[in-house]
Amino acid sequence: MGRPTPDPLAHPERLTQSVYAYVAYRIGAGPDAEDATSEVFARALRYRSTFDAAKGTPAAWLTGIARRVLAERATEKFAPVGEMPDTAAPGELEHDSVNRVTMQSAVATLGERDRELVALRYGADLTAAQIGDLLDLSPNAVEVALHRALRRLRAALEGDVVPEPRVQRSAMPSTADGV
């Protein structure tokens, strides 16, 4: 008899924030990101029994579902990200909120690949090895790509525009995770 499979959604509070942060770094914070996050958990509930702890953590599993959801939505209705909607925090804009919007705006100026890497690392809080599994890259390649993405992000924050090398859509890592 095998070990019982752990419930990947046993602690949803932390996971919802990780998934939302990933989605928001990818497509911008707001109602669309909330809808996508909700959809991710709806699918996770449906496919809960297919979770295999040997293949990764619940966070990585959910991030794979989120990538799939975003890829499907991108082909359906999402406009290319680049113009981030002005999302004001409820109440008055405090310093922290301004910083957050500034950081998100800077992330939104990055190219698709850089944004994906930043979202996976700092939104979903995945390790380089986990990101490598998702993108079919070695952990070292992930670290190097992340370093470059951070340099471009710094340039964006300082007001300089450093264009990301154009990446063909077909050259982007596949988002088909089978979920």
Binding site: E13, Q17, Y20, A21, G123
Partner: protein
């Protein structure tokens, strides 16, 4: 934000983590409630199965249980004295191996004339 220090990439990393977008409390609780509801739905089904199983066992034990029913079928403690069977009704006492049974037409003896 000023990231002109030597460790500015480290500062950007820290800022990306600390200032990452956060889900609103109402949306978060809605999603968590749905996830928790899905889990309790599974538990509800399991507890319903347990209740039905226990109910079936209680009902069976109230009537003596399966073993008792089987025993009663095999060893009837109150046999009826007027036991009728279609065979006895047609051929009287005795069964298939009754000694007086003769289906060859000759009175006594067998077909070879032996008594």
């Amino acid at each position: 934000m000023d990231f002109s220090n030597h460790d500015e990439l480290g500062q950007i990393e820290a800022a990306l983590r600390s200032e990452r977008p956060r889900l609103g409390g109402d949306v978060e609780s809605a999603i968590c409630g749905r996830v928790g509801g899905g889990r309790s739905g599974g538990r509800r089904r399991a507890s319903m199965a347990v209740v039905l199983s226990v109910g079936t066992l209680v009902a069976m034990s109230a009537f003596g249980g399966v073993g008792y029913a089987n025993f009663g079928f095999q060893f009837n403690p109150f046999p009826s004295h007027s036991s009728h069977s279609p065979f006895k009704d047609q051929y009287g006492k005795g069964g298939k191996g009754h000694k007086k049974h003769n289906n060859h037409g000759n009175k006594g003896g067998n077909r070879y004339g032996n008594r």
